[in-house]
Amino acid sequence: MKVLNRLFGRRQPSSSEVARERLQFVLSYDRANISPGLLDTLKDEIIAVISRHISIDPEGVEITFSEGSRESRLEAHIPLATNRGGRKK
């Protein structure tokens, strides 16, 4: 069944792939000495600050931390609230 799933592209990731992804995540946080929970705090505060000036979609805000070979970076994805979706409803 596993093989069939693989052949038809519906496969579950193997445990080694999961391990690799989890390690990529945890090592980047360990190396930067920041806790994953910090991002939630940052996210809440960023939403609060920006919302004072512009209307944003708080559900869509994503803050990610990534580590490359040369630099580490925080990335914020902040979608603005639009009225288009709202009018239809």
């Binding site: 693989r6 592209g9 193997s14 080694s16």
Partner: protein, 266 residues
């Protein structure tokens, strides 16, 4: 040329540091080099057991540090090879009985008469680890292809890089090719990519390691062991020879087919 200090460490316990120290020490001595294996795991010594030298210990590292004997008197000669010695740890003391500067002093004394000093570090990142790496010219990180071992290895690499210790080499121990093929174990390339340090050895899981430890006969001394061969290769690489890595994880025909189908789909 003064001898080189190579420290074997890992962060996590139980990954095979002591086995690696014993085997690397023996493998280097088999290359006709003068070698001392030094147990820095004070209070939990085991290198003597792995080497089969436990009942020949008279003095230990702490006796040397505290002046109860000369360095030479504490060294236990391994008669299986021309120039191989064990400097045992004390069993009844703790890590604070030795300081990093004590370790530097002892290793400097050994450098004059020895080609290699292989230091077995305790697990952890505290005093025992600091002692073990204090005199290191090169460091070998032993890890297993599993999440906790890789994470701890990364932490230790970070500490060593902050202290500008190195070169740092990686040994991936206890690799089970069947499990890797099934996708149930991290493959060596993933571990190397995650840790981003130079690979010096891959040791396959080998049941005969247990028997070797039972007998106090490091596996490199037996001729037909995959793990033994892998340790001999590490010794040669440490000496600057370029030894190709054995194809432990070559995918079978079926896996290659699956891979092809998968990549076509992407």
């Amino acid at each position: 040329m003064p001898g080189k200090v190579v420290t074997i460490t890992s962060g996590k316990g139980g990954v095979g540091k002591t086995t690696a120290t014993a085997n690397l020490g023996v493998a280097l001595a088999m290359e006709n080099l003068k070698v001392v294996v030094l147990d820095a795991d004070i209070g939990l010594r085991n290198l003597d057991m792995m080497m089969g030298l436990e009942n020949r210990i008279v003095y230990d590292l702490v006796d040397v540090v505290e002046g109860r004997c000369r360095l030479r008197q504490a060294m236990v000669r391994d008669k299986r090879l021309p120039e191989l010695y064990l400097l045992p740890a004390a069993q009844t003391r703790d890590k604070t009985a030795v300081s990093p500067s004590n370790m530097i002093d002892i290793c400097n004394q050994l450098r004059d008469t020895t080609d290699f000093i292989v230091v077995d570090s305790p697990a952890g990142i505290e005093r025992g680890f600091q002692n073990a790496v204090a005199a290191a010219d090169e460091v070998i990180i032993v890890t297993n292809p599993e999440v906790a071992a890789v994470r701890d290895a990364d932490r230790v690499i970070g500490l060593l890089e902050a202290e500008e210790k190195g070169p740092i080499h990686l040994v991936i121990n206890r690799v089970k090719p069947d499990m890797v093929r099934r996708g149930d174990m991290l493959d060596t390339s993933a571990v190397i990519e995650l840790l981003a340090i130079d690979l010096i050895g891959i040791i396959p899981e080998d049941e005969s390691i247990v028997g070797a430890a039972n007998r106090g006969q490091p596996i490199v001394l037996s001729n037909n062991s995959q793990a033994g061969l892998a340790f001999r290769n590490i010794a040669r690489r440490l000496l600057g020879h370029s030894v190709p890595f054995a194809p432990l994880e070559k995918p079978g025909l079926f896996q290659r087919f699956i891979k092809l189908v998968r990549s076509e789909g992407e």
